[in-house]
Amino acid sequence: MNARPLLQVSQLRKAFGGVQAINQVSFDVSSGELLGIIGPNGSGKTTIVNLITGFVKPTSGEVIYKGTNITSWAPHRIVRLGVARTFQMVKPFYQLPAYKNMIIPLYSPRVKGLAGGKYGDRNAVALDLLEDVGFERDSFVAYKVASVLPQGYLKRLELAKAIALQPDLLILDELFSGLSLAEVASMVPIIEKLRQEGKTIIMIEHRLKELFRIADRILVLNYGTKIAEGAAEQVMENDAVKNAYLGTEA
């Protein structure tokens, strides 16, 4: 039995001025689990990710990762412990070719540490990682400057950059948003493969159908508060969740 969860979030609160973006949210994520976080727009999903990964400091509460209190740590220190994330609004290095985008995470102290200081030819590793997320090796797409790549490839690049860090906990912030049905269908097997490799994943998603297919557990946020948690079917039967998504009759 796994005694301690990989990630423990307890009584997390974040106020931006008078607005309570996150209010006393607590949850655990076990090793190897895929937790889905859903909620209407503005419910605080991305803020939770920012709080866990150190991009925003919480007003109160704690984030414990592998038994270490990482609350308010700088983002680069949290990454070094093995937490990687993608951004909802993609953040590539627009002036660099796609494969050169990969060099920066491959240059990270975490990757250097895991490889014992030897990490081989970064360009070759970058091209391999890009192929894993769907950059066809025979095409020139990996050599194109990021600023000319379509959204689908930029999302894949975002995922590849996170995978390059060899994380134990991967947080995917609306990875499927802005993608066509076909693109989403081709991304799902990549996520499933990551799970088979034993990665723990938190997915923030609006594409509920695809998320419910792969998630072990769903957590629902509304106005910064946790309103439900459990298996997908169980959560969707919850009245509070129905009200949050569909509203109530006047």
């Binding site: 990964t53 680069h76 627009y94 102290p109 860090l165």
Partner: protein, 334 residues
Amino acid sequence: MKKRKERIDRGIKARSGDIFTVCSWREMTYLAFPRLLPIVGCLLLPLILSGYWQKVLLSVAVFALLAISWDILAQSSMVSLGQALFFGMGAYVAGVFNHYFGWSPFVTIPLATVLGGAFCTLLLLPVLRLRGIYFAMVTLIIPLMLVRVIEASKIFGGTEGISGLSPLPSAWVEVYVAVAALLAALFGFRRMMDSDYGLVLKGINDNDRSVMNAGINIYWYKVQALFISSAIGAFAGALMTHVYMFVGMPVFALDYSILPIAAAVVGGPGTLAGATLGAFILVPLSELLRGIGGLRIVFYGLFLVIFIVALPEGLFHYIQRKYFQFERLVEVEK
């Protein structure tokens, strides 16, 4: 029929990018020429030029070093308006060690490069988190502030400065030290910016949150870039202190901040070579215009405006493009 311009890599560029280039003198010359031209040119120029123009060349090298220093900072997301801070700090450190301790210029110049770089880095450490215009404003203000500190506290000779400092052995040594430093900085730091380390610095400029998200401490990298940049500026200042045998408040003058930026913009920022080329155009131009007296600044300004409007990408990028690519007109598809 509507036509559009198409740019295609020259055949020789594609061929010389490959291992087979070693088989052909033509391709090897194509690769070596742009690198050998500045090296041979810089080493031969002092032999050809007269005493006055040798001094101009020295000044060109110093401003080119300051422009390289500005370009490295700009590529690492720190746009500075205060290269005079680096120049002045190096100048004062060299002057003080030479005057008070009697150390030779061959000791004070390297010492001022390292110590000057370290002092400037420490001074700017608290504002490293500032971005864009806010960082630029602070770098502009600090050298102006230091001038008033020296004036009010009368330290290091106050408004009079320190004169009678040791010169370098000869004018030849002066000019060749400057030129050698320029070539070393140009080629060394171009290589650094093209490496994976340089890619991280450029990444911070492009998207700092994404670099943070790769587990890299961007502030530590910014400190390193700041130290490298300020050490280059400090070297230039220390060298000029021993050339003029004097150090005083003018070393913090605005010229040392503005001219390097103008050089980098005219030459084309982001390559270091562009910044150097810009200094090789602007400094001699400024000397040539001396003959027309008061209208000098007007013509100088006019030249800058025309250049920036006509070639916004910078001269180096333009030349580089012509060297690697040719253009042709193709019909626009309906």
